[in-house]
Amino acid sequence: MSENWQQEEEVLGKAYDARLARRLWGYVGDQKRRLAVAVLLLLLGAAGELAGPLLVKLAIDKHITTHNWPGLVKIVLAFLGLALISAAFRWGETYLTGAAGQHIVSRMRMQLFEKLQRLSIPYYDRNPVGRLMSRLTSDVQALYELFSSGVVAIVGDVVTLLGIMVVMVLINWKLALITLSVIPLLLWITFVFRKHVRDLYRQTRVKIARLNSYLHENLVGMKVVQLFNREPKNFEKFDEIGGDLKHTYLRTVFFYAVFYPAVDLVYAVAIGLILFGGGHLMMAGAVTLGTLVAFIQYVDRFYRPVRDLAEKYNILQGAMAAAERVFKVIDEPIEVPSPPRALPLPIAASGQPSIEFRNVWFAYRDDDWILKDVSFSVATGESVAVVGATGAGKTTLISLLSRFYDVQRGEILVGGVNIRELDECALRRAMGVVLQDVFVFAGTVEDNIRYGCPDESLDAVERAARVVHADRFIRRMPVGYHEPVMERGATLSTGERQLLAFARALLCEPPVLILDEATASIDTETERLIQDAIARLLEGRTSIIIAHRLSTIQRCNRILVLHHGRLVEQGTQAELLAMKGIYHRLYHLQFGGVPPSDGVRDGA
């Protein structure tokens, strides 16, 4: 698998990054009120919990030791009431942050999806689907954890810790100093733990991504894997990637296994200090027994947030990394931008636009020119064929016309207007395209044909299917047009898939029709029937047809010959034959007669 697949996963944010945090805050939006209430509840709840040990101290010092039963009952009732209230507060707080988090994250997910709908094709060339999926799923999930259990809970933990320290100092500063003297030790342990775990966390993420992408490719391509007997080798690799991941997990387990007991130990030291130091203070009459008991309870309550904070740190860090990746998508510049003020598609009186390529140069990468100085025009209602060897750049031509990519030099005009100035959607709606790489969606046959014009009636769908003679196989299916289609049309034959794509393009009756090898996998008889039908249907429509079989393009008014990215010949069939150039050779090769003097591919 390619290396750059993983690079992106390795981006790891700092646990706190002011810039990202500010930006994330922007998403809180209308949830601010909810969160504010949550914080308030949290503070009240924490205060309630802090008060507990104080009440215990009071009970011991003022009532139990003085045998004041009614007083004790009152205190216990107060204690219970407080406990109930703080539980209610905590519940409210958890619910509010969770709900707010859901709303916030839902908005981010939508924004991300909308952005993905606007990003242009070059972006999709670079980013595998699996990676984009994990942006939409696991990264957004990490952000949810940040909002729901991260930020607010961390505030809560910090407040609790500070509160406990303050209360301790207020009760008895000497004992407080003795007790809190273990904090540096605690900080050190947490620091070391964090450092190691952060590193491991990053590695884990990278390795999981690797494992998943390898798994996915294997599942999707299992047929080929099996045909080429790759099972043992691929298993070996899978095992290796999995083993590597396990190794990282085991190291993580080690640090957790050290961390928790180590914190327990520090806790024991703190209690020991209270007993020893506090005991001495008590003997000197400086503290009461109640104070001592309260301190023991506070230390108990001190350690839960400490443990939590160490874990929350991971959430925070994961979330920041996720935010980094999500924002990267959201900030991604759109390589093929829509114009600020899009012009409508100018339609000639006949209802169809003309098409013109003017000195077009294009490269997918840097200056690997795929199209070189290509110029031609298709008049309104004209039908033009493009021929040329494989890899000559025919499909690229179509991609440019649909504005999947922008040309580097020159311009493309539709209806006399540069397509950079046209509304993208209007441009694409005007063109019915049958792409060379057929893609059918999971759903039903009907949904697939109706894809471009969802409001068309079933009648229209059937008509389109009849034009391309797809209805013959559709009607043979158990539930006809409602027959479910599997992912990528796995249960259809290749030709059937192509017919579906063809029907889909015809349904919308587009002013311009573009066929890229649309009948390559279809038998000659059906192909001829389709051609007859289309000829009637699209009489005088602007169209561009790419085909390797010259017989397919006989009805075209003009033929363009593309060779190594250059337009080397154009004209009617007769003119091209008269030129005795590439087309002439191609023609005789296919239809017999004069054998080619030398190869087309390396000729000219």
């Binding site: 209610a88 905590r90 969770g98 999709y124 296994a257 050290v258 969802p454």
Partner: protein, 585 residues
């Protein structure tokens, strides 16, 4: 729950770890349970006859016991959680190996996204059962028993009073868990829908754009997203009860102890130390109480997930090598279809196929779209087995062949060239990693991919992108052809492999192939008469039946489908030719 029994074999290698785990858990709890007792003694001593020495002794004792408990706790985690990671790997590998044995029909029924989910998130939940799911119950039991004993030692009455609320907590945590479980599966279902939607949208991005359907796609995704959010919020509502409830249990316990303990102290039944110790034990007991509900939950989810993994493991691989497989050194390449029938599910896709192809001959298959050509050839490398009848290679039914040996000697160029996101070189070497440079060069030459590669800046190291998306249609097909040729197969199957290739290149490929195919059995599927006419035999399929067979000349003479095909193609050529001639003049 029974689903989880399937894990036992995976645990067997780790028996020793589990035994150690149990022993250590007992030790850990025994050591851990001392701490509150020591605190109790210390507090008691403070109210009577404390001095530095006594206090120091208690402090050190406390530290000592906790230190022992910590070391044991470390071992416990390391052993048991570590074990869960080992088992996770074993289990994942086992499922993957099983998936590798499942045939095309399985992959037609199951979506890749769903399989992925099972191998990732379900596996993770099963692991929870093995790690925390073993560790926490051990804790619960040992800790529970020990701290209860200590509490009883301090005061039977108080213990009973405090424990009244315990079952309430366990039960309510359990029920909350049940509700959570139900909500959780609803969320997961919705999540699957959401991801499938997104997956299709992203994979089909070019179609989405070409038909300008972005807005509608966004609306559909938005609707799913809204439902997903509202289900999640329903979950949050329930889940947010969890922690407060648990906290409440502890606080109520403390209150009860305060009240009745206070009573006891006033009546000299108890000491302050007892009281402090008791609260300490309550803390220790609280966790096991919670854990019971939580672990029950963990097991429920784990069982549901294991069930989903079991479904995979129970899918019978229908295409496997027999017990004593036929695996000759070398395949000759004779193919016989002996009265073969095949159907995917409904009606027969292939009926009554009788066909004998002598080793080294070339047979061409033509026929309408959907007539069953691809299906026919997919029986040869045993992607599917016939529903009735037999396919024999070298006189041996494919079902008796060693599957690996069979496929090793068959080179298939599938109709859709499926490439992997790797370099071109890796893709072509897929089946024959050890091929020499000459073999590689010759495969690349015959398939005519070499000329294209010469123009690529990175040559064979070009990354082809997902499914080969950075290659042109014809380049993909020829890369896939080179991949099949490199294996040096005895049988070569070309399923309309040249459809996306221009005529000139096709001609060169066919010329190269004829040399290559001389000593190999070749099956050619095509719609073009020019491609198939040199074949030793041509068969015509229609709705899964062979309706014509013979050589080109015989079939043309017979005047059936093939003759019509030939006539049609020739007519157009001639028509064309005449046009051309007329204009030429």
């Amino acid at each position: 729950m029974r689903a989880l029994l399937r894990l036992l074999p995976y645990l067997r290698p780790y028996r020793a770890q589990i035994v150690w785990g149990v022993l250590i858990a007992v030790g850990n709890s025994a050591a851990g349970v001392l701490a509150p007792w020591i605190v109790k003694l210390a507090v008691d001593s403070l109210s009577t006859k404390a001095n530095s020495r006594v206090l120091g002794k208690y402090a050190l004792l406390l530290l000592g016991s906790v230190a022992v408990a910590s070391v044991l706790r470390f071992l416990l985690r390391k052993i048991l959680i570590g074990m869960s990671r080992h088992v996770e790997l074993d289990l994942r590998n086992a499922v993957f190996a099983h998936l590798q044995r499942l045939s095309a029909s399985f992959y037609n029924r199951n979506r890749a996204g769903d399989l992925m989910a099972r191998l990732t998130s379900d596996l993770e939940r099963v692991r929870y059962v093995l790690g925390p799911g073993i560790m926490y119950p051990l804790d619960t039991v040992t800790m529970g028993v020990f701290s209860l004993t200590m509490m009883l030692l301090i005061s039977t009455k108080l213990t009973l009073i405090v424990l009244i609320s315990a079952p309430v907590i366990s039960v309510s945590v359990f029920y909350l868990g049940r509700i959570t479980y139900r909500l959780h599966s609803q969320i997961q279902d919705q999540f699957s829908r959401l991801s499938e939607r997104a997956q299709e949208n992203l994979a089909g991005v070019r179609v989405v754009r070409a038909f300008a359907q972005e807005e509608r796609e966004t609306a559909k995704f938005g609707a799913l997203n809204d439902e997903y959010v509202s289900r999640n919020i329903a979950m949050v509502r329930v889940q947010s009860l969890f922690m407060p409830l648990i906290g409440l249990f502890f606080e109520i316990g403390t209150a009860v102890i305060l009240l009745f303990g206070g009573w006891g102290i006033m009546h000299a039944d108890l000491t302050i130390g007892d009281f402090v110790g008791f609260i300490g034990y309550l803390g220790m007991l609280a966790w096991p109480m919670i854990a019971i509900g939580w672990v029950a939950n963990l097991f429920q989810r784990g069982a549901a997930s294991m069930q989903r993994l079991n479904e995979l493991l129970d899918s019978q691989p229908d295409i496997v090598s027999p017990l004593s497989p036929f695996a000759p050194e070398k395949m000759r390449g004779e193919i016989v279809f002996d009265n073969v029938f095949f159907r995917y599910n409904g009606a027969n896709t292939l009926s009554n196929i009788r066909l004998a192809i002598p080793a080294g001959k070339t047979v061409a298959v033509v026929g309408r779209t959907g007539s069953g050509k691809t299906t026919l050839v997919s029986l040869i490398p045993r992607l599917f087995d016939p529903s009735a009848g037999r396919v024999l290679i070298d006189g041996v039914p494919t079902t008796e062949w060693d599957v690996q040996a069979l496929r090793r000697s068959i080179g298939v160029v599938p109709q859709d060239a499926l490439l992997f996101s790797d370099t071109l070189d890796e893709n072509i070497r897929l089946g024959a990693g050890d091929a020499t440079l000459e073999e590689f060069a010759s495969a690349a030459e015959i398939s005519q991919i070499s000329a294209d590669v010469a123009e690529f800046r990175d040559g064979y190291n070009t990354e082809v992108g997902e499914r080969g998306l950075t290659l042109s249609g014809g380049q993909k097909g020829r890369a896939s052809l080179a991949r099949a040729l490199l294996g040096n197969p005895a049988i070569l199957i070309l399923d309309d492999a040249l459809a996306a290739v221009d005529t000139h290149t096709e001609e060169r490929i066919l010329k190269g192939l004829r040399r290559f195919a001389k000593e190999r059995t070749t099956i050619l599927i095509s719609h073009r008469v020019s491609t198939v006419k040199h074949a030793d035999e041509i068969i015509v399929l229609d709705q899964g039946r062979i309706i014509e067979r013979g050589t080109h000349d015989e079939l043309v003479a017979r005047g059936g489908y093939y003759a019509e095909l030939e006539r049609m193609q020739r007519l157009r050529e001639e028509l064309d030719h005449m046009n051309g001639m007329a204009n030429d003049a």
